[in-house]
Symmetry: C2
Subunit: 231 residues, 2 copies
Amino acid sequence: MTDQTAIQTQILDAFAFRHATKEFDAARKIPETEFTTILEAARLSPSSFGLEPWQILVVQDHDKRALLEDVAWGANGRMNGSKGQLYTASHFVIFLAHRGQTMRHGSAYLDRHLREVKHFPEEALGGFKGAFAKFQTSDFNIDSDPQITDWSARQAYIALGNMMTAAALLKIDSCPIEGFEMAPVTEILGREFGVDTEALKPAVMAAFGYRASPPRHPQSRRAAEDAIRWI
Amino acid sequence: MTDQTAIQTQILDAFAFRHATKEFDAARKIPETEFTTILEAARLSPSSFGLEPWQILVVQDHDKRALLEDVAWGANGRMNGSKGQLYTASHFVIFLAHRGQTMRHGSAYLDRHLREVKHFPEEALGGFKGAFAKFQTSDFNIDSDPQITDWSARQAYIALGNMMTAAALLKIDSCPIEGFEMAPVTEILGREFGVDTEALKPAVMAAFGYRASPPRHPQSRRAAEDAIRWI
């Protein structure tokens, strides 16, 4: 078996392994270096224009997790009679999407990001900022605060996917969670988690750990010919 | 080195390898089995409620690629004086996001997907459909066609991220592309690519191949403490 063939098998095995884990073995913790690798997969993910328009909260305080119980039906286990991801996950993550305050073209935040993170030379800044302004106002027409926030969330989903894939390669389970009520979660994050909800909005959650039991259902997806067309 | 340590190194190496490739070596084609693995990483990606609300076009016909030249500034190379991804990529992909016609709760498409792809038993269908209707209309408040399309696009970005990561693990380069003008691209896809633009809207493009030259800039990202907060 060549290296390339072995890596293909490893990738396909990881995607076969991964499923939306409903309940984790609460006694098992992900080793610190392995979770650091999973977080690095997020941090090093690509994003549009390199703007990294998201933040990650890693919620390890179980009292904080409990605050989400009644407003995160996709994580409290009630729908499927399990103990839920909130209480059993080794690591529980909330992705926050940047809103217009930081991600609208011309913002002070973007200026700082381009200079201090992207190390743009002064002479290249103007061209970049012009291209980004055109992108927002014309190409993609995402000029309102909700539209900018949605665009930020899209970039977060790249990082989310990469975290779950890195985990699966390490035989670590995960579950992405959109099953929450946006308004009360936003309110709780502002009040109890110190999130500036004028600048950030919750996008998606994800739980990581080790499955408590085998998946209840076999993996199901559209056939390749229904999802992919060659031209 | 334990297996887990070796896999961590392999993951971090892949994320260090990956960069937004501006120009590919047009003479080098990705072997068919390897690109199939990259497509499988998309097809087997998770999505909200398991609804897979995206389609992939793999555009290998260079006459079709040329139709996008003037409306995809992120792929035509003009901004950076390269030959561009459109002409040099081994494989060029367009993600399409499902619109409200198929992804609004109660649609005939969703009903068929739940029965034929997800193999939902008849007695579970009602509960699932109710939960999804509540999710769209109340939890996430995404009831308009643009909002539903944006939500579909988010799911596509999970698959996009996984394709690029699978490629990087195989030492294959890639570039995600939001640099295009939405309105004319949509019009061209409808007229020349046979896309039903009442049902589908372009979300993002991606090019795959082998870099023509080393990256021009070192990789730059926020520090972990600026992107991630532990609670």
